[in-house]
Each structure stands twice: as C-alpha cells, then as structure tokens.
C-alpha cells in the first residue's frame, strides 16, 4: 500500500476512516526499512530490534480517539532515553546502556498514542558533528546521493524521513543538528525555543543550548508533533511554564503583512552560488505571497561560531565527565581506579568527542576561564541583543540553512575547523535561544536539496509555522522524493 510514503496527518486521516490500522502501518514501515536501510543506514542496532513489536494498543477504544498521534510510529534519535530500548548516543562508551526511564518527550508521545519505533536513529557521537560521520556505527548516507552525508548530528532521523523510512522523527539541536540535516535531506526540521520542550531524558551535550525537535515530511506534521512534545516539565528546571498553543491553528495560507528581515551577514562574497540563487528566489516567493522584507544586520554573526565552540564544548566537557565506567557503559579492564577512568574514556570516546572535551576543559581551566569561557558568555549577550533588536520591528528572519548543500562523505572529516564552519547559519539561534525551522526551497543542479531557515523571537513558533506552511502550500519542493 506504500503507507510509508505518507505523512502522519494523511495516515491519521486513513486511520480515522478505518482505511488502515496501526499494525499495517508498522508492518509497511518495517518492510521499507528492511528494503532500504542497508543503503541509507539511518537506523542503528536494527539486528537487536528485529523481533520487537510495539505494545499492542487497542485502537478501537474510544479513549484512543482523543489521542492525537494514535498509531503513528515515531523514530527516535539515539540520544533520547527510551526505557527498555538501548540509548547509546552512537558512542562506544555508552555501549549497551539501557535506560531505566523514559525521557519526558517519550512519555508524552506514548500518552498521545504514538508508537515508539523500536530502533534508534544514527547520530554523530554525543551529537558532536555536522555529518553523522562520527558515529561508532559508521555514517548514514544521504538518500539524495548515497555518497554524501545526510548532515548531522541528527543525520539518521533526517535521512529516515527523507527516505520515507520514518513517518515522524525526533532529533536534537545544539548548533543546528536538526536544521542542517533537514536541509541536506530535503525535509522539515524545527529547533524549538529553548525551554519549549523538556530536556529531561535528552543525554546532554550543551545544557544551555540543547533542544529536542521534530523532523518531518511537511510543516503540518511538524506542528502535530510539536503539539505533543511541547510543554512545561517539572523535572526540567529550564523548561518554561508557558501554555502550549495548538500549533496546527497556525497552518494558514496567508503571510500578508508579515515583515521579514534578511541579514546581510548571511549573504557574503564567495558563498555557494546555487544556494544563494535558490534562497533568493525563495525570498522573492515569500514577497510575492504578501510578506515584506528588508535587509537587516546581525552585526556579531562572525563571532557566533567561536562563541559556540567555547560554550558548547565547555558544557560538553562537563556533561561527559560522568562517562567513566563506574555505573554504566564501557569499562576498560584495569586494576587501578585512575587507569579505569583514563582507559575507559580513552577507548570509549571517538576523536571528535576527545577534541571537544579537551577544548572545553581547557576553556574552563584555571587561568583560562576569563579569557575564554567568560568572554564567550559576554559575546553571547551581544548576539542575543542583535536578535532582540531586529525582532522589535520584524516578525521573522529568513536565511539559508547551510552555506552549502550536502558534502561528500569524508570531504571534511580531516578538517575540524571546516566542519565547524558549516554550522555558521544555524548556531546563532541556539545562542540566542530562539526558534528556527528549515524547509526545502529548491534543489541544486546535482539534485541536492537546499534549505531555507526561518527564525522568530522566543516562543513565536506560531509565526514560523505560518510562514513555512504558506511557503509550502505555494510550492512543490516538499513533494519531491529521492530515487532510492
């Protein structure tokens, strides 16, 4: 029946009309994965989940009717804790970790009737990366061109959606890890406002920047998923107690009068010409649909990447200190305690993880804290202020999601700095705590998707959905599928 090709909202429609069942959807999707994932490798540890079946829920019960995602499978990134299902951040050091608890978003999904897909999606180890090449299970391949990366760190989730190997997916975004892979894989990826979605159960990379968010086939599905996962969580002190609107109500086909800012710092000399052209055409499209746009300035854009690589790595070095072989995960065989720590972490962490931990530890260490960490915290204030100023007069900001389309596997893996710079357009949103989405706005001559990023002020996801949905309704990019 090729149910796997449909969106969640289309499937919900079929379910409500009894044209299909949750079991049928699950079976269909599982078959698609069996047929396709050997090429894409979006999922990890599939062999361990071969015989798993989702809990049998009686979908004929009236109480199920009120459940917004009843019967819909959701694929989860390997850094979100799922009780009873291994959660390893695709790292050796967490091999075999089976959490005794569910992340809050997983609880919410279960309560909404969704089916947690029993295999996790691939990622850069601990979310350290922009290509999903840093996974201990090997890279995921971009469904549009299997020699290319899917982006990262939520490359598995993005590729799964792009390849119709998932209906809905969750990823995490610390510096662009949902949006950039969404752009590379031609799907919709949203990073919510910091504090909108609970982080309880998300294995932390950078606590002040991380957010869990949806990766979906279209904007409607993103709104559906956001309705479920958003909301205050008493287990997360950084989650905000602001009511969750019905995001589907923002899915109108109207952006008349919306004021869009186009930051000049994002359109520089030497940027990829195809990306430039495609994004400019998208902006023109928005104008033709009734939005106004003006150039604006985010003066501290150039400082975002260095700020990020101090703050994020510093917090990461702290968050990863707990991986030591004492309570869970890998433990190196040694007789002395200090060796246990050093060898476990030496053997268990990949190169990128080591790089970031060392950098972060350095930035926090005695004598360097002021020059690095404290300085970065101050520049973060400047970056936030840039956005605050613009949002006084503009409803949203539109930029390319990534300076280039998907690059080849191996192309940047020897040059960490070059890899870091690929986050240049996405990082600022995390530093400022604001919501941002990436939607497809075209394809290069080589057939690679190009992403358009829409940013708004804190808790203005509704504005983002309105603009993104209007654009989607008036274009066909999201309907194009890769040939697999």
């Amino acid at each position: 029946m090729e149910l796997f090709k449909l969106t969640a909202s289309a499937l919900l429609d079929k379910l409500s009309r009894k044209e299909t069942t949750p079991e049928e959807i699950f079976k269909d999707l599982s078959q698609r994965i069996a047929d396709t994932d050997n090429k894409v490798k979006a999922y990890v540890r599939l062999d361990q989940t071969k015989d798993r079946r989702p809990e049998t829920i009686d979908y004929s019960l009236p109480s199920i009717v009120s459940k917004p995602l009843a019967g819909i499978p959701v694929s989860i990134k390997d850094n979100i804790c799922t009780e009873g299902l291994n959660t390893e951040c695709c790292s050796k050091i967490l091999s075999g970790f089976n959490p005794p608890y569910d992340a809050t978003v997983i609880k919410k999904l279960k309560e909404s009737g969704a089916v947690i897909f029993p295999a996790k999606t691939n990622m850069d180890e601990f979310a350290f990366g922009s290509s999903t090449e840093n996974s201990q299970f090997g890279p995921t391949h971009n469904p549009w061109d299997l020699d290319r990366v899917p982006g990262g760190s939520s490359g598995g989730s993005a590729a799964a959606i792009g390849a119709d190997e998932a209906i809905l997916a969750l990823g995490s975004d610390t510096g662009g890890s949902i949006r950039q892979p969404a752009a590379f894989c031609g799907v919709v990826g949203l990073k919510p406002t910091y504090g909108r979605v609970s982080r309880f159960g998300l294995i932390a990379f950078a606590s002040s920047l991380d957010q869990i968010g949806p990766l979906t086939k279209d904007v409607r599905d993103s709104a559906l998923l956001m309705n479920v996962i958003s909301g205050h969580d008493p287990m997360d002190s950084t989650s905000v107690d602001i009511p969750v609107p019905d995001y589907t109500k923002s899915l109108v086909n109207d952006i008349k009068g919306i004021k869009i800012g186009i930051p000049k710092e994002y359109f520089v000399e030497g940027m990829n010409p195809e990306v430039k052209t495609i994004v400019e055409e998208a902006i023109n499209k928005l104008r033709s649909l009734g939005a106004g746009h003006k150039p604006v300035s985010l003066a501290h854009t150039d400082y975002a990447v260095p700020v990020y690589y101090i703050l994020a790595t510093a917090e990461a070095s702290s968050n990863l200190a707990r991986f030591d072989g004492v309570q869970y995960g890998l433990r190196a065989k040694t007789s002395k305690l200090i060796d246990m720590y050093k060898k476990t972490r030496g053997e268990g962490f990949g190169q990128e993880a080591k790089r970031r931990i060392l950098l972060g530890t350095f930035a926090l260490s005695h004598g360097y804290y002021d020059a690095y960490y404290l300085r970065a915290l101050k520049v973060r204030t400047l970056i936030k202020q840039d956005f605050d100023r613009i949002f006084k007069d503009f409803d949203c900001i539109v930029t390319p999601t990534s300076p280039t389309p998907a690059f080849k596997i191996g192309e940047k893996s020897d040059d960490p700095l070059s890899m870091y710079l690929s986050d240049i357009y996405t990082i600022s949103a995390n530093l400022a705590g604001i919501p941002a989405i990436s939607i497809t706005c075209g394809y290069t001559k080589a057939g690679l998707p190009v992403g358009l990023q829409i940013l708004a002020k804190p808790f203005a996801e509704e504005t983002i959905f309105r603009v993104a949905h209007t654009y989607e309704r008036n274009t066909e990019w999201h309907k194009v599928k890769p040939k697999l």
Partner: protein
C-alpha cells in the same frame, strides 16, 4: 607555650533534615539498604536534570539568618568538577561566587569572655555517596548522593582548640534550635574539617596552613588541633617550613598523617550550573522566614536570667539544647517562689544525673512539672526527706511515674524529724566518740559534723541532718 599563636578556621558541613534530597525526590531516611534511595537524577544517569528542593533553600536561609549573615538577593549554583567514584556526575552541584549567605558571625564563650567568630559564608550543595573499602575493590552506595549539605565556613578567627570546641558546640546548638539538622557527628549529619596555621604572637598575617580531615567528634577536633599546633611550632622552631597540605587525623595513634597522594593543585573548573536558573530571594521572603525563627539560645539565655533570676552560668547550661530549655522553662515557670535557683539546681544536678543513669535525654525524663516541683518543695522547704534520699526518690519517680509522696511512703524514706525518735542514735554517737566530744568542747566546732555523719549512718540516711546538728549542739553546750 612559645612565641607562636595558632589561627584556626573551621569548615562545617551540616546535613539538612529535609524529607527528600536536594535535587530529586528520593527519600533521605537514615539507614536504608544500599542503593535503594536512588533515582536517575541522584545517580547522575545520562539525561537526568536537577530541580531544587524548596525546603532545602528555606532551611539554608534560616541558618544564614540565625548566623547573622546577609542573605543574598540573587544566588545561583555552580558545578565543581573532580573525579571520584562516589560522585556520579564527576561534578558536584555547589555554590561558588554567589552563596546563599555571607558575612555573618557566631559569638562563643571562651576563657570567660564572649568572642566573636566571623562566618565567611554558608552555601548549599549536594552530598556524595559512600565508599566501602574491601580487599582489592571498593563498593559504592549512592543513597547519600544528593542529600542536602549546608557548608558553613568560618573566618580564621578561632585562636585555640578550646575555642574551636566551643564554636562547634554553639553552632550545633543554634542549628538544632532551628530544627533543620540533627548535627550528629556520629551519624555524619555534621562534619568538620579544620584549617590551622601559626604565626608569631602579636602579628597579623597568616602562616602556611594545613588542613585536617577525618575528624569524627568535637573532641577529635580539639585534640587534632592541639597536636597540629605543636607540630607546626616544632617544625618552625627547627628552622623548617610548613608544607601546605591535607592531613588526616589518626584517632588511634593521636597524630595527624600527611596524605601522601601527590596533591595536584585542584582545578575544579567552576562554572555556573546551566541546568538551574538562578534564584532571587526577595526582602519580603527573607522577612517571612525571619519571623519563623525560634528564640535562639543567646536570647533565651538572657530571658531566663531576667525572667527567672538565673545566673548566667545556669542559664547557659539550660538553653544549650532547645528541648531541654523548653522542658526546663515549664518547671521554672511553675515554681511559686521568686527564687528559682533550687529548680535550676535540681534540673542541672539531680535530674541530669537521673537522665544519664537511664540513658535518656533530660527532656525525656517522664516526671510531670507538678511532681518535680513537689519533690523539690518536700526536700528543700519542708525537709521531709534528706537531699540524699531525694535523689533516690527522683530516680524512682522517673522509672515509675509515681508522685514524690507515693514513693517516699512506699520506700519509707521520710526523714526522721522528730527529736524523740533520734534520741537513741544521738546518745549512741556521743557515747561512742568521746574524743570528738572533747574536740568540740575544745573549740573545734566543725568536728560536730563527724557526729552528724555517724547519726546519719545509724539512721540509714533518714535523720534530718540539720535537726541532728542542732540537737548535738544543744546537748554538747548543755553539757558544758
């Protein structure tokens, strides 16, 4: 001792008596089976996040106020990094530059004077787990991880081991008054590390200090400091330098031992805890909490002196512990006479002894105020029984709950106050001790007490000694 004087600073960790841990909802009940009071948060499992216990914050503010500190209007938590198996996240959530309270003081009594010891700061943090060392391995129990600890740091303004002892007593007394901790060193709800250095008497700088750990009682603190002061002085006198290091107190051998592990200068890499937004403590909140502070020992002592006419000494003893003070106050109040010293004496003396003999606290002695005061009246005023008998009666009353008169009658302890009944014994005493008689007659009037003692012995303590003395005096002077 020498031309050196000691300078001491104490770091006290107090475990707050909340129902649950500081950042999670696990129970804090003492004595649970290992690893049964744990959850993903206090175990530091990946993905877990802390949420601050409201009571822990309130209790911390209470202690800050009781120690005369300035409670900060803006306070936050920081991560303190070090690797150890009993620290699940390999960082401790603590407070670095913006502690809840700072700049307070504690007045202690030392050498007959009141001395003021500055309190630098009091901050809230989470406890680590317990390590048990076996042969070739160590076992970790994480029940204690995440318990709320208040770290109270004194200024280096303690100048002798005795003062340190007094400081700890006063601190314990105040904190127990607040009801926020048991401050029991044996149970680990109060822990103390000491910093000590010496300097030439009369100078104001600070010498190189050493830190002493593994102090398991107030006595140990005093003894260890005594030892360490001598070691410092000996070292300096020998022309050598003090090494800044951590030393452990070896109780058995009564000495401090250097921790031989190479002490790399600890780089804790403090930075603000991103998982906990800061806390704003309004002036109104502080006032609200201030109103809930009970009358503290110092104030109560002054009041006891004023209201009940007690001496400073007696008042201080009675107020040291809140429950004792409350117990005492009811009895002091109930005494009909202006002079309440007898009641104070009886509380501090015989009642305390009785409690000790029964292995309970003073306030746990089950003698009603009426019965207690009756006993004092019967003994001191009415002299129905001697002081010696009264102590026996008291213990019996505590054991049985019976009234004084009931016990006196039961045990036939009524003092013999009737002259005719004593004739026989007095005659015998006089007859048996002719030398004493001649001594008394010769002017050694105090020797009469020996005769009184003899009569007491013969009557098994039941004779009224004052009466016996009077009779003897009369008889001996008559006989002149």
């Amino acid at each position: 001792m020498s031309n050196y004087e000691p300078v001491i600073g104490l770091e006290v960790h107090v475990q707050l008596k909340t129902e649950t841990k500081v950042f999670c909802g696990c129970s804090t009940k003492f004595g649970a089976e290992p690893n049964t009071q744990v959850c993903p948060v206090c175990l530091g499992f990946p993905g877990s996040l802390p949420v601050l216990n409201r009571k822990a914050l309130e209790y911390s503010i209470k202690v800050g106020l009781a120690l005369n500190c300035t409670v900060q209007g803006y306070t936050k938590f920081d991560r303190k990094h070090y690797y150890y198996p009993d620290l699940p996240k390999n960082y401790q959530i603590s407070q670095y530059d913006l502690p809840i309270s700072k700049d307070g003081f504690l007045d202690i009594e030392a050498g007959g004077k009141i001395k003021r010891v500055g309190i630098t700061r009091a901050h809230l943090e989470e406890d680590a787990g317990k390590l048990i060392h076996n042969d070739g391995s160590s076992s970790v129990d994480f029940n204690r991880t995440g318990q709320p600890l208040l770290e109270i740091v004194s200024e280096p303004q303690i100048y002798s081991p005795e003062e340190a002892y007094e400081y700890l007593n006063s601190l314990k007394s105040i904190i127990r008054y607040l009801g926020v901790s048991d401050c029991d060193m044996e149970k680990g709800t109060l822990r103390c590390d000491a910093n000590i250095s010496v300097r030439e008497t009369g100078t104001t700088g600070l010498g190189t200090k050493s830190e002493i750990k593994n102090l398991n009682s107030f006595k140990a603190v005093r003894d260890a400091l005594g030892y360490e002061i001598e070691r410092h002085i000996e070292t300096l006198n020998a022309g050598e330098k003090i090494v800044q290091e951590t030393r452990l107190w070896d109780e058995k051998n009564e000495q401090t031992i250097s921790m031989r592990s190479k002490e790399e200068a600890k780089d804790y890499r403090y930075f603000p805890e991103p998982d906990l937004p800061p806390f704003i403590i309004s002036k109104e909140k502080i006032e609200e909490i201030k109103k809930t502070l009970p009358e503290l020992p110092k104030e109560k002592s002054v009041r006891f002196m004023n209201e009940y006419g007690l001496s400073e000494y007696d008042a201080r003893i009675l107020v040291a512990d809140k429950q004792t003070a409350d117990y005492a106050e009811i009895r002091l109040k109930g005494w009909p006479e202006m002079n309440r010293k007898p009641v104070a004496n009886w509380l501090i003396g015989p009642l305390a002894s009785t409690a000790s003999a029964l292995k309970i606290a003073v306030h746990e002695v089950k003698i009603s105020p009426k019965d207690f005061l009756d006993l004092i009246d019967l003994t001191e005023n009415k002299q129905v029984i001697s002081n010696l008998s009264a102590k026996i009666v008291l213990e019996e009353m505590a054991k049985t709950g019976k009234s004084a008169m009931a016990v006196i009658q039961e045990k036939n302890l009524a003092q013999i106050s009737d002259e005719s009944s004593l004739e026989k014994e007095i005659d015998a005493a006089i007859q048996e001790n002719p030398k004493v008689i001649s001594d008394v007659k010769a002017g050694k009037t105090n020797s009469i007490m020996f005769l009184v003692g003899q009569v007491m012995k013969k009557t098994k303590g039941k004779a009224n000694p004052k009466l016996v003395q009077d009779i003897l005096k009369r008889r001996l002077s008559d006989a002149q």
